[in-house]
């Protein structure tokens, strides 16, 4: 059994994001980069499946050369090998990413492809379903629970939807995008980190990077909130709060 996991290199969630000099992208100086948290969860899901059913976990990443660091982290967690498709441009859109990834995924022929529900930088949440369409595979998004039966080529997935939960059955190969709660990513062990250095990390060039259909015109900050205001202390402030909610905010 061969499981592919898609990972993306993104700024740490705790990072303060500032607009760069070009006014169209972020200033990357001083920012720490991590595996996008949902992708890290997907790596964990893959490792748990491997522990249960055996097989191989392959990490696939499209990004800058520097993404090797986060790819190594996935290898340190326990993935077997990795393919890093190095970008030749900084400008991306999901359709292009999906296209680039699809050629490697086709070549590898995975039994299951896992990814995060969205990358936490551009928050587009498009690559998984787009890949499904390109590769002609079923795709379940926002999975909060997964049971995979490799022998029967079947997966049962619980997915969260607004106001409820759906249970979905798909035949595999399939693409599953992971939501929080499906698994808790492990910390790489010291041994894992040492071993990761020797695991195969293949760098590849994209077969083609399709032309973009959208263009970022500018990047800016959301409107500033009025400065914070403390209206009082303890239960004594409750009356004032209710008055403000009623008269100023006109909410009640």
């Amino acid at each position: 059994m061969k499981i592919g996991v898609l990972v993306k290199r993104v700024p740490d969630t705790e990072a303060r994001i500032t607009v760069g000099a070009d006014g169209k992208s972020i200033d990357e100086s001083g920012i720490e980069f991590i595996i996008s948290p949902y992708d890290e969860i997907a790596v964990e899901v893959a490792l748990q499946l491997k522990e249960k059913h055996g097989g191989e976990v392959v990490v696939v990443c499209y990004g800058p050369k520097e993404a090797a660091t986060v790819v190594r982290k996935a290898l340190a967690m326990g993935a077997d090998r990795a393919v890093l498709i190095t970008e030749s441009t900084k400008e991306h859109e999901p359709a292009q990413t999906a296209k680039v990834l699809s050629s490697v995924l086709k070549e590898e022929g995975f039994d299951l492809i896992l990814a995060g529900r969205q990358a936490i930088d551009d928050d587009s949440a498009q690559v998984g379903p787009m890949l499904a369409e390109i590769l002609g595979l079923p795709c379940v998004t926002d999975a909060s629970k997964l049971e995979f039966d490799p022998a029967a080529k079947k997966a049962v997935v619980h997915k969260e939807i607004e106001g409820g939960e759906e249970t979905v059955e798909v035949s595999t190969p399939a693409i599953i995008t992971c939501q929080k709660g499906i698994a808790e990513p492990r910390l790489p062990s010291l041994k894992g980190i040492m071993m990761a250095k020797r695991k195969p990390l293949k760098e590849a060039q994209p077969a083609e990077e399709p032309e973009l259909m959208t263009k970022v015109v500018k990047m800016d900050y959301p409107p500033k909130r009025p400065p914070g205001r403390i209206i009082g202390e303890g239960t004594e402030a409750v009356g004032e709060l209710v008055r403000l909610l009623k008269e100023e905010a006109k909410i009640l």
């Binding site: 994001i17 999901p94 379903p129 059955e169 909130r225 205001r229 709060l241 909410i251 009640l252």
Partner: protein
């Protein structure tokens, strides 16, 4: 030519955001000098589809069948593709919900069209559409020019106004597409509604959220009482979710949900940057926290420094009298 607004039907009702989508489709259609067409897919939807006329739908394309009872991504994408072909649509608008996020990229891939997610405003520039979307969980935003038509966009719920005075013609027609069911490898076997049909955080007008300061899962009861009184729902910070006190579907912030309610009441939440990113677009923020230095107070319209276990029940009591409940 047309602008399509996809109308989401789930569990026997239209989502609130569906009305927003149709009204926005109408506004854009007006600028383009064309019609707004609502696309309705589901089981038993025909009867109710007409209500979108008031919200601006000139045409209403209906695919009503037992087979469409549940959302099946590739089938719905196929139907929407057919709707685009049938109407010559230039834009397809969907809500950025779990369903919209799933079907929009598939539709875009089928049409070789661009797809821009989770937009909060749009502007027709005379020859192309420009959209605004938050990125990095709202820490910054980008204005994106869409250079190709047809194009697909998903609208963040609660950011576009639903307007029942837009009055479209509302001509109902059938939407028919050939679907090769043998190739459909996706089956919904169960749909469970959460307790008391709890409203999703992204659609709520009032959210009462708890963080590490709640000290344990049992204490969320006081937040639930307050939320119920106000007709709101309970949310949580990452700390509270990671501690296992609340389900992750309750999480507000960068690895949870981005919310924009009218009122956000943060209780025992310090205001880590990734939490602030997810709730700073709330209209009014109330913060209740013991630590006067907590970053949450920097974004709070009304901050109360104090013990939430005293302040929250007191607030509930005063509000109960105020609201006569």
């Amino acid at each position: 030519m047309a602008v399509i607004g996809y109308v989401e039907w789930r569990g026997g009702e239209f989502r609130k955001s569906a009305y927003e989508v149709v009204s926005q489709a109408k506004r854009l259609a007006k600028e383009l000098g064309t019609d707004a067409v609502a696309v309705v897919i589901g089981k038993g939807v025909r009867e109710k589809a007409g209500e979108f006329a008031a919200y601006g739908a000139d045409g209403i394309l209906v695919a009503d069948s037992e087979q469409f009872e549940h959302f099946i991504p590739d089938v719905y994408a196929r139907l929407l593709e057919q709707a685009v072909n049938q109407t010559g649509a230039r834009f397809v608008l969907l809500a950025h919900t779990t369903l919209g996020r799933d079907v929009a990229p598939r539709l875009a891939a089928r049409l070789a069209a661009p797809d821009v997610s989770d937009i909060i405003s749009m502007n027709w520039q005379g020859d192309h559409l420009e959209v605004l979307r938050p990125v990095y969980a709202g820490k910054v935003r980008v204005t994106v020019a869409i250079g190709k038509e047809p194009a697909v966009v998903t609208l963040r719920p609660k950011m576009f106004e639903a307007d029942d005075t837009l009055g479209g013609a509302g001509n109902v027609e059938d939407l028919k597409a050939e679907i090769d069911w043998d190739k459909v490898l996706y089956k919904v076997t169960e749909l469970k509604k959460s307790a008391a049909g709890k409203m999703d955080l992204t659609e709520a007008d009032i959210i009462v959220s708890g963080g590490r300061g709640m000290k344990g899962p049992e204490n969320f009861k006081i937040l639930e009482e307050l939320a119920e009184l106000l007709g709101g729902v309970v949310g949580a910070s990452r700390a509270a979710v990671d501690a296992g006190w609340r389900p992750h579907s309750d999480q507000v912030g960068q690895t949870g949900k981005t919310v924009s309610p009218t009122l956000y009441i943060a209780c025992g939440i310090s205001g880590a940057i990734q939490h602030l990113a997810g709730m700073s677009s709330s209209k009014y923020i109330v913060a209740i926290n013991k630590d006067p230095e907590a970053p949450i107070f920097q974004v709070a319209n009304y901050g109360i420094v104090g013990d939430l276990f005293e302040v929250v029940p007191a607030l509930t009591e005063v509000l109960r009298k105020e609201l006569g409940k």
